[in-house]
Symmetry: C2
Subunit: 390 residues, 2 copies
């Protein structure tokens, strides 16, 4: 049998990927140790060495999520898969889902729940602001949802939502709490057990400093109970957490390991190393390092005559600093300038903040004073070069 | 804030992954070039270098699928994500899905369709046999499905299903055809355009010789038309192919690139290199190499006094050879022996073939006479050592 579609010549060129300074809201630059781990030999997800790595990751994720949840693992997919998996596993037909909308990620969660056929209600706040407990309680009372979804670390607005008292509030109204902590975990505190969060998920390539392509997630006892007592099967086979849990031995010592789908072990090797680096440093030190770096950036931004995006009284996010765009500066040009001249990824806003902000992500190994100062230098130079001529 | 869950000491140990001979049904061993590509620096999915890689992959996948479909790309997830994505994108509430069941992968497809709420019908055949056109046409006539799902390369039974005349048959009955070609693509011929297949998907870590964690997939014009005219949104946001297509510029030149979710670029670098190796070798040469290797293995298996699993008259699969278990040999022990003594993954069956077969996968760079002979030597030695004592 002869081919009619010929081999494409473009694949005869070598692959050359330049080093970039990833000051985006993620992916961030991974350390050499993490990148190196990606190239380990291929093994199967049911090999004994794979089990060791999965157990390592489970322990490391329990540490960064501050939880004893056995249902703690990394699903194969992006952070958005984490959003969808958190909802699809808890949702049963007829359920009402309440979403606190203050940025693109929560809008995405509402979209996901709608696609499943849920009764979706949202509470909204101005971009750049967070929700008060009063606003949340009013909505829980009014809509009586089974699931409440909120974002802890909104990377498009750069605002930090305090989530420590929301769990008990939800449980008072027989509602489960999902926290999107994609950009936060590893960079800012989260205490899944102490704060009584039912499901939380992270991004592997953000403050954790790992590779793209994994969605770390943890399910607490209330969530597991609901999943165990489901009347209908989870809508998605791929994202079915109780099936996925078998490979990770997360269903208790008496349930044997089993195959769900072929895990991307090479990505997991890299996540394992990213978690090992966090263990080496200590989580408190890492939070402090992210905080100090962010403080330095915020001070530098003020010196450049720019304003932060988060509203007065709000806590700015330590992982991603959002700066208001300034009249007289061509922000699109600025972005290209930083990339072309410095190979630096300095993105603008996203979603409703699209033309309003400029973002500086300093996470993982990039959260240090030298990288912060370099980034501020680039920003200063770019502003000089990107003034709109009158 | 102080941590109450302490850092796990197990993450203070170094990561050591041994080289294994991956003669499983996948993942197979990746070449040094492919593994090396995984460690490239992190870049974002909207960088110009990423666009080049995506265009490379699209062209490479069009080549291996033998198609001109613009909607050809690699989704981030395992082969099972490919199965689910193929169905979830075509399925609309009320649709009937017909699945040809002759192994675990088609059973999985039926499960996925049921979870979506589809009217699911199956046709069954003995494991180790394929379906005739007559059987398929009878079922199309009887059930009038909108979607028909069939597996080309059944890795759990080692049987090759001829799919070249099924497309036109389905279209006669206003039905779309999905072909699961996970284990086949890159190892055995598939002609998506010539055979009029509406959706086909592959595994990245099988005969393509790439990394685990990507699901190459292609959607033909009939499939795209149905997707464009959907009355309801795709149930899954993550798997929504028309959204995903934006990053790949697969919706035509006038639709600008856009973000759907953060692609795992490092996995894509490796897939790009795997496809570059295929272009270098030429697809016909590669099919021939897989065929010759499989012939050599089949002859060797006969010499050892073993029988192939596929029924008389069926075409055995060139990527994975299935051998019937023989009384007097402890196949579980054999598996452990091969792994412990030779670090070789020689798996048993899976699903209904669980205790019935033993599998030898020789795909990608492993499809060569030396590796085939080595594998046969290990098998011979293992049989000697794993006789059940009377």
């Amino acid at each position: 049998m002869e081919c009619t579609v010929p081999p494409p010549d473009r694949l005869r060129r070598p692959l050359v990927i330049p080093y970039k300074y990833m000051m985006s809201a993620g992916p961030t630059n991974a350390s050499a140790r993490v990148l190196h781990a990606l190239s380990n030999p291929i093994i199967g997800p049911l090999h004994k060495e794979a089990y060791e790595v999965l157990d390592d990751i489970k322990a490391g994720l329990q540490y960064v999520f501050q939880t004893k949840n056995e249902m703690t693992f990394a699903m194969c997919g992006s952070g958005t898969l984490g959003t969808e998996a958190s909802i699809v596993n808890l949702y049963e037909p007829g359920d009402t889902v309440l979403v606190a909308c203050n940025g693109i990620w929560s809008e995405r969660a509402a979209d996901i729940a709608e696609r499943l056929g849920a009764n979706v209600h949202t509470i909204e706040t101005t971009h750049g602001k967070t929700f008060t407990l009063k606003e949340i309680e009013d909505a829980l009372e009014k809509y009586k949802p089974q699931i409440f979804f909120i974002v802890q670390a909104e990377s498009t607005t750069g605002v930090f939502q305090d989530v420590q008292h929301i769990g008990p509030l939800c449980h008072k109204y027989n509602c489960l709490l999902i926290v999107d902590a994609v950009v936060g975990v590893g960079g800012v505190p989260i205490f899944v057990d102490k704060w009584d969060i039912d499901v939380a998920f992270a991004g592997s390539q953000k403050a954790l400093g790992g590779p793209t392509g994994l969605a770390p997630i943890t399910f607490g006892p209330r969530a597991v109970k609901k999943m165990m007592n489901r009347k209908t099967k989870v809508h998605s086979f791929y994202m079915d957490a109780l099936e996925f849990a078998k490979n990770w031995k997360s269903l208790g010592p008496e349930v044997p390991r089993g195959y769900h789908y072929t895990l991307s072990m090479n990505l997991l090797f890299a996540l394992r190393e990213a978690l090992a680096e966090i263990v080496e440093e200590g989580l408190e030190n890492r939070w402090k390092r992210h905080h100090e770096t962010a403080e330095r950036v915020r001070a530098g931004v003020h010196k450049l005559g720019l304003e932060l995006f988060p509203h007065e009284g709000e806590t700015p996010l330590n992982c991603v600093t959002t700066v208001r765009t300034k009249p007289g500066i061509d922000w699109r040009k600025l972005r290209h300038y930083a990339m072309d001249v410095y190979k630096m990824d300095l993105p603008g806003g996203f979603g409703k903040t699209a033309k309003q902000v400029h973002r500086i992500g300093l996470m993982g190994s990039n959260a240090n004073p030298y990288t912060a100062d370099f980034t501020l230098e680039v920003l200063k130079d770019a502003i000089e070069h990107c003034k709109i001529s009158e």
